[in-house]
Amino acid sequence: AQTVTQSQPEMSVQEAETVTLSCTYDTSESDYYLFWYKQPPSRQMILVIRQEAYKQQNATENRFSVNFQKAAKSFSLKISDSQLGDAAMYFCAYRRLMDSSYKLIFGSGTRLLVRP
């Protein structure tokens, strides 16, 4: 079964600085999707960024970028120029393309604190 591991329960960053959140996953498949979701105190999960495994180029969305290392099964999220509004729980997730439900499998999350 696929698993997603986030080894950092909590991270802290100074406003305007850069922080990297780690994620590793376990799969025997070659095609899949990876995601980072943000969960603010409102509880609503918000998609931050998505990566298709067949794409070698790392995805970027404004201040958010990923470092996708397929062989190492690593998918880290880099947040540049951190802002107070970035403070939230961040979840890494995996989607198996051979799964008829396309459900997401989530890691346990990393709480990001942003210091003013």
Partner: protein
């Protein structure tokens, strides 16, 4: 609607009672998911609907949990004879069909079983 709507936002119940949680997905989204998030934990998949059918119920933890979806829209998650370990936030998400469909989440229903 504009987004995924869930009700109630918060529910406190006594052990042994039945509860119903409701999810109103984004209009036109054929796929609907229920997840459970226990305190300090990640999201645990419960069930997936495609239209009104549920081809993947593999995450339901026991036969006390059931869900249905009607009219390809609203879904209800029912927990019978609630236990304290059922206390969690129950999140609903909807998406367009397919592997590339982004999941849009509601704000969840926080269930507390006393």
């Amino acid at each position: 609607g504009a987004g995924v709507s869930q009700s109630p936002s918060n529910k406190v119940t006594e052990k042994g009672k039945d509860v119903e949680l409701r999810c109103d997905p984004i209009s036109g989204h054929t796929a609907l998911y229920w997840y459970r998030q226990s305190l300090g934990q990640g999201l645990e998949f419960l069930i997936y609907f495609q239209g009104n059918s549920a081809p993947d119920k593999s995450g339901l933890p026991s036969d006390r949990f059931s869900a249905e979806r009607t009219g390809g829209s609203v879904s209800t998650l029912t927990i019978q004879r609630t236990q304290q370990e059922d206390s969690a936030v129950y999140l609903c998400a909807s998406s367009l069909e397919g592997a590339t469909g982004e999941l849009f989440f509601g704000e969840g229903s926080r269930l507390t079983v006393l």
